[in-house]
Structure formats: C-alpha cells, structure tokens
C-alpha cells in the first residue's frame, strides 16, 4: 500500500538498526512523546530490536491517559442527564471513571454516541434542536483545531444546544516539566509527528537551547521511528541540541497556520491538571470568554465533582520516564486494561496498556 509499505520495509528497518548500533558509542535514554509512537514501538517490537545501549522511555502523549479522573467523572455525570446526547471518540467510551464508564451510562439509558469528528457531534446538535449535544474534547494540539472549528461553527450558526467538555493539553509544557524534574533521565526526544503537523517544530527550538537536548519530530511507522531514533542518537553523539525534522512528509517548521489560527481564536492557554503528573502551569487550552457559553463544564452543574486517584498507581512515574510499566508492582495483577488503576493502563495508547497487550510475557521482551 502506497505511503505505508515503504515505511514498513523490513530491509530498510534492518539498515537503520545497523546504523543506530554503529553510531551509538554509549548509553542513551530517548523519550518518544506520543502514545501512538509507543503503541507502534511495542506492536512492531522495535524496543526488542534496538541495541541495548538505546533505552526508549514512554512519554505523556496519550490524551486519554492524561485526562484527569475528575473530568471523566464529570463526563459521566453529564452523559447521565436527561435530554443530553453525549458524544465522544471511541476510545474514551471505555475509560473508567471512579465507578463507571460511558458504556455503563449508556446501558442505564444515557444517550452516549461514538463519533469520528466533533463536526459530527455538531451535526447531531442541528438534527436534535430539543436536546443538549455535548462533545468530549480531549487531546493535544492535534485534535484542538477540529474542536475549535466545531465551536466556531456552532457560534456562527447560533447553535445553542452544542457544548464541549474540554480537556485539551499541549506538548511543550509537559516536555519542560519532565526536563525540569531533578531526577530527569531523558536525554533526547522523538517529538510527536502529528502534533508538529499542526504546531510546526519552531516551538521546540527554545527547549533545545534551554535544556540542551535534541528534539526530532518523528512519524509512527517502524521506518519513521527508526529514522527518528537514528537522528536523535547522531545528535546526541555529536553533542548538538537542535531540532531536526525526520517527518518531512507531514511536518514543517511553521506547521499549519490555518489550524493554528482557528485554535487561537477559540482557545486560550490555561493551567491544566494532568492525570498521573499533576498541575502543569500554562499547559492546557480552555475556551476563550467569548466562547464560554459552549463550555459544558459551565453549562451543566458538575463543578462540585472532585475525585482522587488510586494510591497504588504510579502512572506519573511512567509518564515521566522514571518507571517502566512492567516494573510497577501492580502491573498485570491489580492493574489490567479490564481493571485499570490509572492513567497509563486506561487507554490503548497508554504505555502500560501497550506493554500488557503486546509484551506481558517476560520471555517476549
């Protein structure tokens, strides 16, 4: 298949692996930011193929993982209300709150629907003017433009029965939080390709300078990932703290100005709670005051809902690269995808979930 097979070419992958082995003269710890990259690494067993001196640690770039439990509980409360059509991407439907998930709410009579785009939710609002249609807007800079577009469109058309429950977060502040930690181990980053497609990679240049780390925007297929790892290792070996793009077919330095403009019109930067990590200043997006009428957390009375995390879960350490999923004492025991205790086990893109799914047998790692 065009645009896919060439990035899954085993011969090319072997060449890149050999080049990585030749280039690395010492141990390097590299973090892939995005949960999609983690998933692809585990699915294709790239961690098994890399030389031992290259350690991949898995970053916080899974939107489902970092959505606070409290926000999920608020979503469940709204979805249970009479007259509400609650819409979400499929992977949020089975994420458990403190007692239920959205499937359970649906089985009790809640109108919960899976959509592929916030614009589909907006279309539902047009079709059902007598109902309140809520879209669960989670994600990084990748999903934010489409969510912004839906809100802007709703404002333009005067659609009063549409709102979004928003948990939008941004990558660079999370990278800064990880690098600022006193026990940080990360020496280089594979930046999340699709986030960079929207934002461009210029915003990583100050991070490189400030923290002296290389950042390599990288794609998701095995050859993309290996090319990104090779470039990161080369930069590390040469002591160059720079951004070098290895996802050129999708990412440019400037990104997508139209998406950025739409995003900036509708959202403003705000402090945001990250599940498993905690509060990161100026790390999230919230609706600007002129669009706050579309904010589901204000429209529905859910502000009183406060939830705490399981004390057993160490996902914060996993999300910051301090702990490997299978080194956690409750991994695969008290904590499984069926009964997740925290952030990184809940989503299929979470690091713990990827380990459980593809590598829970120690003989395979």
């Amino acid at each position: 298949m065009k645009y896919l097979d060439e990035y899954r070419d085993p011969g090319l992958a072997r060449l890149l692996l050999a080049e990585i082995a030749r280039t690395a003269s010492r141990r390097w710890t590299i973090m892939e930011i995005c949960g999609g990259q983690t998933h692809s690494i585990m699915r294709n067993g790239i961690d098994q193929l890399l030389p031992d001196v290259i350690e991949l640690v898995h970053g916080p770039g899974c939107p489902v993982c970092v959505t606070p439990l409290e926000t999920i509980d608020r979503a469940l409360a709204i979805a249970s209300m009479q007259g509400v059509i609650f819409t979400s991407f499929g992977d949020m439907l089975r994420v458990p709150g403190s007692s239920d998930d959205l499937f359970t709410v649906r089985s009790r009579g809640g109108d919960v629907r899976m959509v592929y785009s916030p614009l589909e939710a907006l279309a539902l609002a047009r079709r059902h003017p007598d109902r309140e249609v809520v879209f669960f807007a989670v994600g990084f800079e990748t999903t934010a433009p489409a969510n912004a577009m839906a809100v802007r469109q709703a404002a333009r058309e005067g659609i009063g029965n549409f709102s979004v429950l928003c948990s939008q977060v941004m990558v660079p502040p999370a990278m800064r939080a990880i690098l600022s930690s006193s026990d940080n181990r990360v020496q280089g980053f594979l930046a999340a390709g699709h986030v960079c497609a929207v934002t461009g990679y210029a915003e990583y240049e100050p991070i490189c300078r400030e923290f002296l780390v290389p950042v390599v925007p990288t794609g998701f297929e095995p050859v993309d990932l290996l090319a990104g790892i090779l470039k990161t290792v080369e930069l590390l070996e040469e002591g160059r703290a720079e951004v070098v793009n290895r996802y050129g077919r999708v990412v440019s330095r400037e990104g997508n100005p139209l998406a950025q403009e739409t995003l900036a019109r509708v959202f403003e930067v705000a402090d945001r709670q990250w599940r498993g990590i905690g509060m990161i200043a100026r790390s999230g997006l919230q609706l600007r005051p002129e669009f706050s009428r579309f904010d589901a957390s204000l429209r529905f009375d859910v502000g009183h809902i406060r939830t705490g995390e399981s004390p057993l879960c160490q996902s914060g350490l996993v999300l910051q690269g301090h702990l490997k999923p299978d080194a956690c004492p409750v991994f695969g025991k008290e904590c499984t995808p069926q009964h997740p205790l925290g952030a990184t086990m809940v989503s299929s893109e979470g690091a713990c979930s990827a380990y459980y799914r593809y590598h829970r047998n120690p003989d395979l790692t």
């Binding site: 896919l4 790239i46 499929g90 439907l93 592929y116 095995p222 995808p337 593809y358 047998n361 395979l364």
Partner: protein, 347 residues
C-alpha cells in the same frame, strides 16, 4: 401492474409492517403467503404445520442457534438474511456436520418497510439454495416501533455429523499448521464503512458465504484435521486465542503470511483497528497436521471462497495458551483478544 395477465391476488395492502402482521390474523397470513412462502417454499414448509417433521440420515446430529442483529441490515456483499443463513450453516459445518435444515424466526419493528423485508427474505432463500439447506419452519413477531431496530432474525440449524472426524478446539498438537481460508476482516470493515456517519467510501464487500461445501471437500481429503472454527466476532485473533487456550498450546503466526485485502488494511489503518480483531463471515481457520497442510491448502484454494487461503502459522510447545505474532522485522508480540466493543453491531 405488469400488463393484462397480472396475478389476481391483491398485493400487500401496506407498505410497512403493521402490528397486525404479527397478530396471527389475516395480515399474518398475507405476510406468510406473499413474502415468506414464495421465497422459502418447500415440501416441509408448504404444509404450514406448527412443526416440521424430519428424518435425519445419520445417527449423530449437530444442532445450533444464532441471532442476527446487524446494522445496517443491508450491506455490501450481503443482508441480515444471507448472514443469518450462512452464519448458522457455518456453525454446523465447522463441527463436521452437513447442514440440512434451518428454522427462521423474525422480530420485526412496526413500520419496517415490506420491500426491505422482501429483499432480506429473498437473500435468505438465495443463501439457503447456495448452501443446499432448507428452511423448514419459522415464526414472525412484530414489536412496537422503538422496541427493536428494524429487523432481528434468529436461525437454528440441524445437520448430520459425518463419521470418522473428531474436530475439537482442544485437539491442537505441536507442529500443526494453522490455515486461514482467505483475507481477514472483510465483513467487519464492510459493515463499518457502510455505517452512517463514517464519511469515507470504500469498495469493501462482506465475505458472507456458506463454508459447508469447502469444509466437506476438506474433510474428504484430510479427515484428520484437528480443529476448525469460523472467525466471526473477535476475528482471527479471538479464534486463535480460544484454540490456544482450549488446547493449552502456543500458536505462532507470521505477520507477512496473514492475507488482508489492501482496502481493508487501509480502512483499519485509518480507524486504528487491527484486522485480526475484525469479524469474518465466510472464513475458516483450521489446525491441520503438518503432513496434511499442503493438501488442505490445495482444497481450500480450489473453492472461490478459499482462493486466498494461506498457512499463517503453526502450533508450538512454548508459551501455552498464548498467540505470538512474528513481525516482518524479526520481533515478536502477543496477539491478544480484542478489548471490548470495537464496532457497531456486526452480525
């Protein structure tokens, strides 16, 4: 009207299903005589008794039932009707039975278009003809609007078991080869892409088909097949995991050997779904002793529905109960059961 010599019987007086169509009165009779009988009619059904009286050619009989709720009820490559016939035929056939007779129970929603019902019943009859089974008894209930989604169908089936075969998911032996009779994921992705709201066009057609003729030929040629299953809900991954768990054996699969249509792969990539987790409705997985594997593959490939058949892996003594994929890159990963609901109603 088709001209001066058209049928003098009144056409159906309604365009949609009415509550009275299920009430046992005149409209019920009309539905039976004008929709079901013309398509299904046979010596057993034509008697219109409350039961079919059957004699079976073998001492041992296989009996199965399944209920079909697929949405949408018409999809590329089939309808809920052809699915209801083929699904039950295949459930009998993979157990080593020759499917003979089916029952058909319909739950219809008030207001369901009679033209759609006629199309579905016609596709059921066509599927039954292809599978060489007879629909010998049936039932129709109508429920109020909103109580079901258009149409649900239950079919039960009886088949006669052939002698000399012993198929069981507990029979896998190390060294057995795992055969898949064609491309993975066609049915599930055809439903997925036919679904409202998903705004991309695809040429994906369901693989919905009867497997009994291919299975009969397989068992004629290789009576020593250890296990057969049709990978419906949960896809190839679910069946392989069930076989591995039941036999306490490990299964190794070669990623490059698993046939997947390019358009199915593309749709799966877009939606983030593993084709091994997607349902099939006309595919067979067989565990075959290594010495017989090529013969079994030749038989599969001699049938249209088996032309893409492949040996996708083998049974091993390691990692009992676990299915392991060998990737094209030389790494390995677990092939797990799908987690929860992936798709809308697919069968």
């Amino acid at each position: 009207m088709n001209g001066p010599f058209s049928c003098p019987l009144p056409l159906l007086r309604h365009e949609t299903v009415q509550m009275a169509h299920g009430a046992g009165g005149r409209l019920s009779q009309e539905l039976t005589r004008q929709v079901f009988m013309p398509h299904f009619g046979n010596d057993f059904l034509d008697l219109l008794d409350d039961q079919a009286k059957l004699s079976l050619p073998s001492a041992r009989t296989a009996f199965t039932t399944d209920t079909y709720v697929v949405s949408p009820y018409v999809f590329p490559g089939g309808t809920i009707g052809s699915l209801a016939v083929n699904g039950t035929v295949n459930d009998l056939a993979v157990g080593g039975a020759r499917p003979l007779y089916l029952s058909a129970g319909f739950v219809l929603e008030e207001g369901f278009p009679l033209a759609a019902l006629d199309r579905i019943v016609s596709s059921m009859a066509e599927a039954a003809r292809k599978a060489e089974v007879l629909i010998v008894c049936g039932d129709t209930k109508v429920v109020q609007k909103g109580s079901c989604d258009g149409i649900f169908i239950n079919t039960s089936g009886i088949g006669s078991l052939r002698d000399g075969v012993s198929l069981s998911c507990r029979n896998l032996q190390p060294g057995d080869r795992i055969l898949l009779s064609g491309t993975a994921g066609d049915h599930g992705m055809s439903i997925m892409t036919a679904r409202e709201g998903l705004s991309f066009q695809s040429g994906i057609s369901s693989d919905c088909a009867p497997l009994n003729h291919m299975i009969a030929a397989l068992l004629d040629a290789v009576p020593g097949i250890h296990a057969m299953r049709d990978p419906t809900r949960g896809g190839v991954a679910a069946v392989l995991n069930e076989l591995a768990a039941s036999s306490a054996a490990g299964i190794d699969i070669e990623e490059r050997a698993v046939p997947v249509r390019a358009e199915v792969r593309g749709a799966c990539e877009l939606l983030g779904i593993d084709p091994l987790h997607v349902a099939n409705e006309g595919k067979l997985i067989a565990a075959v002793p290594a010495a017989d594997a090529d013969a079994a593959l030749d038989v599969m490939r001699s049938f249209g529905e088996g032309r893409d058949a492949a040996i996708i892996g083998s049974v091993c003594g390691d990692h009992p109960g676990m299915v392991v994929m060998h990737t094209a890159f030389g790494s390995r990963r677990i092939v797990d059961l799908p987690a929860g609901e992936q798709l809308p109603r697919i069968c």
